[in-house]
Symmetry: C2
Subunit: 475 residues, 2 copies
């Protein structure tokens, strides 16, 4: 339990709206999104201004309190969940939810860290623009959390991760100083770019309090295509073809195996197969138009598909004929995680390798795991265009799940990450490290990488008050 004087100082800084030690109020924020980690917190701190955040951090430094920054609590690796000691404090950014400016000329949006992604989308749309990053948790994920986890999603292929969309930011550093890099400078060579460390920093070297975000022109039209393919390799060749000829009109390229499609059709009501032919693998593509001078995406897609079929790059394909049908295609993709969950227990790995190597990874590693661990089934799906897939390994039927997770499950996860490392890849493509992956990261991180991370963490947060236990495996 933290020092009572510290809590009393925090209460007086934040007032009744910003401070609570009522465990009923705190309770909903103690468990991570996936429900795997539950912690405890002595208080929930909800500052309304950057100055309040700075004041909180100074109190934390004085009393050596651990702060756990939290946005929408929708992270995938328990990076915003406190530990079980009861000594930590949740620093919730949700009250700082103002969108302060939208510049019509440049499309830049200035906002506070607690703005929810969906509200950002709506504000951009009202200004005739689009914020092109989206993901399942958009109704709760906040700008600060998206920045701190360098979030991805299904539009990364064209628009990049959060890193590419942050034009400026403000953060409170662990010494209580305010780092103001809000001016949206396109060029700035004044040394190491601290902004780049805070992006993806998981709140371990500072708390993002504000940001300036780049938007893109609003969509005029889109065209969603579903294609049946024979293999990940064929899907990759299709991707290369579509990128070469469709250029940045191709906004998303996702793959899934027949097994995942079956799970969705079985477990998610109202879904139906886009094609009446069967295929080992499927690709979902979205082509867009955001410039009146461009051809319609439907025309573009039609031409490209004709050529792709002639080049033997796919087996069959269909173009969504309406927005309803387009949404239905995307719903299949977006429901895979839910459907797989309904289909049974599985290990989930969010991994990346170089884009050119991903097809080989899937084709070599999936049968190997299924052979080494009889009864398991692999399901690899997701962002082929980014070299990033979600690699699930389903438990054998009838097995004791808890025992399997602790035994074979653990061994399989280690094996998957070993293989990812052999491909030069990453054991966390878009979810981050948080608490969930810290042990495997410690085991597999190259010594030079881990020692650099530790050096940075210690340089910024020598007292260890900012989200300790997350991201950086300490020596």
């Amino acid at each position: 339990m933290p020092d009572v004087n510290a809590l009393s100082e925090l209460r007086s800084i934040l007032g009744p709206k910003g401070y609570s030690d009522d465990q009923d109020v705190i309770y909903p924020w103690l468990t991570d999104w996936r429900g795997r980690f539950t912690g405890a917190a002595a208080a929930l701190l909800s500052p309304a201004t950057t100055q309040e955040v700075a004041a909180i951090v100074r109190v934390a430094a004085t009393y050596r309190l651990s702060l756990v920054p939290q946005g929408g609590n929708s992270g995938m690796v328990a990076g915003a969940t406190p530990n079980s000691s009861g000594d930590q404090l949740i620093l919730s950014m949700r009250r700082m939810n103002n969108i302060t400016a939208i510049d019509a000329d440049t499309g830049l949006i200035s906002c506070e860290a607690g703005v929810i992604l969906q509200n950002l989308h709506e504000a951009a749309a009202q200004a005739g623009r689009r914020f092109p990053l989206t993901l399942g948790g958009k109704g709760s994920a906040t700008v600060g959390g998206l920045i701190s986890t360098n979030a991805g999603g299904t539009q990364v292929l064209r628009h990049g991760t959060m890193r590419l969309l942050v034009a400026g930011l403000e953060a409170v550093l662990p010494d209580g100083s305010i780092y103001d890099a809000m001016a949206p400078l396109k060029k700035d060579n004044r040394g190491y770019d601290l902004k780049q460390l805070l992006i993806g920093g998981e709140g371990t070297i500072g708390v993002v309090t504000k940001a300036v975000l780049q938007t893109v022109p609003a969509l005029i039209d889109r065209c969603v295509v579903w294609a049946g393919v024979d293999s990940p390799q064929q899907a990759y060749e299709l991707l290369l073809f579509m990128q070469k000829h469709g250029r940045d009109r191709l906004e998303g390229f996702e793959i899934l195996p027949q097994r995942a499609l079956n799970a969705v059709l079985t477990h998610i009501s109202g879904t139906r197969p886009p094609l009446d032919t069967t295929h080992r693998w499927h690709a979902l593509m979205e082509f867009v138009q955001d410039d009146p001078a461009q051809s319609s995406p439907g025309e573009l897609a039609m031409h490209l598909l004709e050529d792709a079929i002639a080049d033997n790059l796919l087996e069959n394909a269909t173009i969504a004929r309406s927005d309803v049908q387009a949404e239905a295609f995307w719903k299949i993709r977006d429901s895979i995680a839910e459907a797989e969950r309904a289909a049974g227990a599985a290990l989930q790995h969010d991994i990346s390798v170089p884009v050119a190597a991903m097809a080989r990874f899937i084709e070599q590693e999936s049968p190997r795991i299924e052979a080494d661990y009889p009864g398991t089934k692999t399901v690899a799906f997701g962002h082929l265009g980014d070299g990033n897939i979600h690699f699930h390994v389903k438990a054998p039927e009838g097995v004791d799940i808890a025992g399997w997770y602790a035994g074979d499950g653990k061994a399989i996860t280690s094996h998957v990450y070993d293989r990812v490392r052999a491909y030069g890849g990453s054991l966390s493509a878009e979810h981050g490290i948080g608490q969930s992956k810290i042990d495997e990261f410690a085991r597999l991180g190259e010594p030079a990488r881990l020692s650099a991370l530790r050096a940075i963490k210690n340089a910024f947060d020598p007292l260890g008050i900012m989200n300790p236990g997350k991201l950086v495996p300490l020596a």
Copy 2:
């Protein structure tokens, strides 16, 4: 003078091709590109492999030797020039000049740090691709130097600075470890992105030894336009219009005042005015085609210019009718620095502010300086589309130049940087800090920024052996 045992160890590691203490050999590398700083070096170290670089750094750590990494020695801020003590060693990366792979599918080029930019351009072109970053020193600038200074140039508007073009890199850190991030992962959320620190790090926390660089499709055609405008503000409105309607077909947008054009016409032989009308300001635009599906850039430019004239966004314009004429337009832009040098002594400031504020900056600050320092003349030219201009202030005629540089000149530079700071801008948009700007950076850098830089420098290089005295103003 360094320890003789250290030099002997280095000689035996590097052999006669890689080690020289012959001052005739060393001499050409002791003075910076602009000729403002001359240092001394006990030896010139020219490793041929990453392992040799690592061995050098380990010797340097053991004997506390200062290493000054150097590529083409074409930097603008003396960041690769040793100090005058004679204790420092130049670590030249020029022998590591192999282009090791070009991937036809992904367009990724793998190479060593000493590859010269022009050779990279040619290798990309031979593979039917284009490396889109270019600058005046391309015949000598190396990949490692371009990365370490996060180089810019005239194509940044569309393709970004070096930061956006680095898909992977390898570096030797100050403890002699090799940081291998060569796998070109599009997504990788394993904590603070060290790659981002090395980009623009000026060799102060590590030496870049290899890189994987992104290329873009080769150009099919281009169209260069010269426009006369009334003011920077009108040029900015023209920029917004061209970006809105030309999208990423607009690859460059540069501005210059009549004064700069006059200097070029006077001092650079073979140049002639693109327009037969006179204008207070000029804008140079390049539109490109790199996709067969796109309209020709000439057609595009013609339509856009018609609409821009109708909207009163420019006074007059001409389209280059041949590649020869296009080159002649660009030659005017590229000769400004040389012409201004010939026209007389001037202070040079490479500055940025938010793009939307640059016109106001020029229009407000230029007359203010000319009024406060009678006889001076300002010349602001360059990358309006990036919010980055080169802001020159010419000395009054007939003044004693050395005395002026030390007196009014110094005061003017401080004033310019003060004003840049008031606009939230950067005193180094693309050249870096090096030695030239370190004092002004120390004076003007926000405390949180400077203390973060120092913390990072000390965390990586506690012995202070990597390019000491550059980039980071130590407390």
